[in-house]
Symmetry: C2
Subunit: 670 residues, 2 copies
């Protein structure tokens, strides 16, 4: 009866609210994040501004939406159901957070078509949003023509206090301000409550002023609970400022409508509970049964389907004209969108012989990147302020800056974590771009959450990590990875490659680029120091993860297994041992996970079970090597932190010498 | 000859500069960071403001100095040599960045007495500084009396553009502003240059305004190259504002004095080179030979020795009075400073029997923390906004806030990385405080750089990590650690403990507290779900890393090895197998590194080499387990990301059931 007094807009907003309330209540799970306060801003955004096609979630020119406060995912699922996405049904909502449903506990792009990125770990979503906006800016600058606008969409983000406390969002938003990403619009759900309670206990900074300091355009909606006109006006204003990203601080009440739990952390961390749900229904005049949406509301929201079809049809017309007028550019974009690589792209990757000069694998990486850049226009990336150490510049392709978004060298500044999340956003833009991000290998620790998310959310990023061992030398143990490669190998769905020389670096890029197109990230561990080119290395070998680079006649007595810079040590040790009449095989093992993916016959051909004397040599911790060395093998490793000294001194002091490999090998041989 | 025209102050500053220039030149190593622009501010700070005793670097009430821009470490080494620290000799300076010298490539507290914390990874130092200032504020609030001020020192930090770009510094500085840490004074070496070149390419935000938004007091010295009076005045002003931390932006020229390389990234990343060194000497009128310090300068700087002795003597007088007037408080502080634990402190740790209620190990952790809090007044810590999930509140000990610094519950906000660096700072304050920091285990990824630094820099922190497996359930794979424990075990010098029940949680805290006093960090991995109390668990067993909790008669046919929540699965599976006549041992292995530290005889007694059928059960990746299961063993693991569903459903779907353990065991037994 009270319903009659609700406007259509209120009906829609309360539909969102109660779908969430009912789903959370049914799931009875902690930390669900009820979107009572955020529903109005989300409704206005989706109803009045967002351009998308529910029936084709991947439509290229759609506005991107990111719920950075991912614990409020029922907000997004409710919206998606109401506007007509096929990926979220009412049954999915009723099965919120259950095994096999498409409504997991945080938004996951790989589970639910229409969800753009994977959020939940706070600060990631807004930072992904910066990447999405950078992808749009790049493609727009590159493909749009004075007479035909092909790429033109906004990236909208809803974020909360938690996102704003996280350093990663500060990094990414500082860069977004620097770059002047005008089509990035973030709505900050300013509800003063985080899990521990009122933000007064730990978060009293002036967020708006901070964003102004970053160079953002900052707006404030004082009553985000009910003032829909103010929300709409703010979004309009944000759109009108085209040279700065916008932050709209929308002050809301968490748990709005719940008479006893509104404005408390209780709504953040647990369901309302049956009685309070009833009271909330009464309080908001909502006398529908659980999961029931009034017809009027559903009909209104579902207009998005027609709107979406017409938006896409209109864009298709532009696209058709574009294909006629600009066939070359159109073909390029079409290929990018198809996920295919250009015919013969990998032919540019060089191979080397032992006669070629020994250079660092970071240098080989630079050569690969610069060979690939002309044939793969989708390659775009850069370093977290170590461009000339990581050697990641695409020469002649300019810096991506405000006013030159068509360029492909990204200047991340000293912002590893932000870089990581931005690269994920670029990859998940879905336009075929292949982003890469670079720093020293040890600083993957700064960005590990983003690397993990690239693996989990299937973002085809290339992580270019240099200075991959104690051999980096003088910078000392703070900069010397020892446990880092092991810790990265432990991440599911991440290919970690540590190439031994120039040819293997080419092999690593072949895998990395193909992985990227298959939505899988790859991490390259590259040397600071020069590495001789090996006689037995090959591009094909890298793709198999491990392969024989030096063999003996018949069954080997001993297998030396090396990765990266240590393969050469193994080869030289094998020469000495062979000269002494020993039968020794050397296996280069640049990528464990690729080797694991080979069939048993191949694995047996490289590491025959019968050969139990095995010595692994890697300038890192021994952790995990037992998998390949077995109970009777050994390893030359460094199970402590490194030290500051020239790289060759470090290697020698820690036992990475031919003599020590020979000695350990002999000890194994008995 | 030009020297004659230099004031004593200029002589001192140029002594710092050229000790650095000469050391860097001799070391010929990359990325040394020449402190040409930062020398004046550092000189003013150390000469006019800093209170320390070079002959007793650990003097308790010293001002703390942190060079957050750690790559400029020659600045600190030069200062330390000049003011008379025994830990940095002229020989050490000549052996900059060489094996065995006390002048490593970045400041390392464990190598060089007088260096407070380990910096180099950018943003850590300023965040450690927040921790140091919090430690001072806490101890001052706790021990100072109206008539006797025992604790009263500043924390001074020099940081650069790189530090300011890092998210971790944003997190820590936002909290410092919230807490109003008036004795934290940061000098921002604003030289517009980072490794990639001018900060214009990626860092154009208004840093001062950002810090104002955090609630800091912000000052600006326009000419930091020569205006010593302005630097001194700014530090005076900073000291006069007691309710806010201060940021003094000191605008400088990188490579000041080098005619051709000043104001370029070239000075950041490499030595000047012989010719340019000569030109710089000429330009600054410095006609001393390399490593020669004019007598006047040395004599002036060395006055710090006398000054320090007298400062300490004066403080000792206060301390003597304090001991007389406040013997109880004095005894407490004295014990804390001694590094000793109170007699019988560990008696408060509870043990349990199977009859005791099954509760989560995070709950047991809460019990331990609250049992320990009254007997260990040095225990101080909190959570990154997950207090009631991590269960880390010290009940009745209040919140550490502006105006209540004597309290012991730290409210970090959603700032995991900042929390990590702050805890390191509190531990390295050297006053005996035992800090702890908490979040979900998976979010160690956000703070891994700080956890690594706790291990490297010997910071006795306790990392309290809860929700330690897929069993956390509904939050889904973004929140479910799978590779996390393995990746943490790989870090040298970090004890990782995953207790199986209440008694083991007590054992974990016993180790963690003792570790802390021995300057070693410990990470606890605790369950969200309830765990039954085992019959065979023990506090002593945890200290040995692994031990038998269920045994059979004679030599076992099979050993089941479990950690944490999976030990109970092993026990129940063993019961079934035993009932079927099998001889099965169950080993609980809460801490790998503690087991590795046992002698061979103990290791053999737990895991006899002859028993080759071994099954490890852990709800995480298999990575590394081969070390204990050997070539003939197996593991029940989860080598993929988890899924959103109730925890018990996740466990079942991924094979963590008694039935599956029994089945896998039988498969091994053949």
């Amino acid at each position: 009866m009270v319903v009659a007094t609700q406007s259509l807009e209120e009906l829609c907003i309360n539909s969102i609210r109660f779908l969430a309330v009912d789903a959370v209540e049914k799931a009875k799970s902690g930390h669900p994040g009820l979107p009572m306060g955020a529903a109005p801003m989300a409704f206005v955004l989706w109803d009045k501004f967002m351009r998308f096609n529910p029936k084709n979630p991947q439509w290229f020119n759609r506005d991107r939406f990111v719920l950075s406060a991912g614990h409020g995912c029922m907000l997004q699922y409710a919206l998606m159901y109401l506007v007509g996405y096929d990926s979220v049904t009412l049954d999915d909502i009723k099965n919120f957070r259950q095994w096999g449903s498409r409504t997991p506990g945080h938004p996951e792009n790989f589970e639910t078509p229409g969800v753009e990125v994977t959020t939940g770990p706070l600060g990631q979503g807004i930072s992904n949003g910066v990447g999405l906006a950078m992808a749009e800016a790049h493609l727009a600058a590159k493909f749009n023509k004075p007479d035909l606008t092909l790429v033109d969409h906004y990236t909208y983000v809803i974020l909360g206090d938690g996102c704003n406390m996280e350093g990663v969002s500060g990094e990414a938003c500082s860069l977004a301000g620097h770059l002047g990403l005008g089509k990035l619009i973030a709505l900050y759900d300013d509800n003063h409550i985080s899990i521990d309670g009122n933000t007064e206990i730990s978060f009293t900074e002036d967020v708006g002023k901070r964003f102004e300091a970053y160079g953002w355009h900052v707006l404030h909606v004082e009553d985000g609970n009910t003032d829909l006109a103010a929300i709409a006006k703010a979004i309009e204003e944000a759109k009108s400022v085209t040279d700065k990203p916008s932050l709209i601080k929308v002050t809301t009440t968490i748990g709005y409508g719940s008479p006893n739990k509104n404005n408390t952390a209780g709504v953040h961390g647990s369901p309302l509970g049956g009685d309070e749900v009833m009271l909330t229904r009464q309080n908001l005049g909502w006398n529908y049964d659980p999961f029931v949406v009034p017809d009027d509301a559903l009909a209104h929201m579902r207009k998005a389907v027609e709107r979406g079809a017409s938006l896409e049809a209109e864009w298709n017309k532009t696209w058709a004209q574009y294909k006629t007028k600009y066939p070359q550019e159109a073909a390029e974009l079409e290929r990018m969108l198809s996920g295919k690589l250009p015919e013969g792209w990998d032919k540019v990757l060089p191979t080397y012989t032992p006669e070629d000069k020994a250079v660092a694998s970071r240098k080989h990486s630079e050569i690969c990147l610069n060979k690939l850049a002309p044939v793969l226009p989708e390659l775009i990336g850069g370093s977290a302020d170590l461009t000339h150490s990581n050697l990641t510049e695409l020469k002649g392709f300019g810096d991506f800056q405000k006013g030159s978004y068509q360029n492909r060298n990204l200047r991340f500044g000293v912002r590893e974590h932000g870089m990581g999340a931005i690269c994920n956003g670029i990859a998940l833009h879905g336009s075929g771009l292949i982003p890469y991000g670079a720093t020293f290998l040890v600083f993957t620790d700064y960005m590990r959450a983003a690397i993990r998310l690239s693996a989990l959310s299937r973002a085809g990023v290339i992580w270019v990590m240099t200075h991959d061992s104690i051999a980096l030398g003088e910078d000392g143990p703070t900069h010397q990875p020892v446990e880092t490669i092991a810790s990265l190998r432990a991440i599911p769905n991440l290919t970690v490659i540590r190439p031994a020389d120039g040819t293997e670096t080419s092999g690593a890029y072949k895998v990395a680029i193909e992985n990227a197109k298959n939505h899988k990230p790859t991490l390259l561990a590259l040397s600071r120091q020069n590495l001789p080119n090996l006689a037995g290395s090959s591009i094909e070998g890298v793709a198999k993860g491990a392969y024989t680079v030096v063999d003996c006649e018949g069954t080997p007595e001993l297998i030396l297994i090396g990765t990266g810079s240590e393969v050469d040590l193994c080869v030289k040790a094998a020469e000495k041992l062979t000269a002494e009449g020993r039968k020794v095989r050397v296996v280069s093992m640049p990528a464990w996970d690729l080797f694991e993916a080979q069939d048993a016959a191949y694995q047996e051909s490289v590491l025959p079970k019968a050969v139990k004397k095995r010595l692994a040599v890697e300038a890192g911790v021994s952790f995990g090597w037992c998998r390949y060395t077995g109970s009777e093998g050994d390893s030359i490793s460094i199970d402590r932190f490194g030290a500051s000294a020239p790289g060759n001194v470090c290697l020698e002091k820690f036992g990475f010498t031919v003599e020590n490999v020979v000695a350990k090998a002999k000890a194994l041989l008995g």
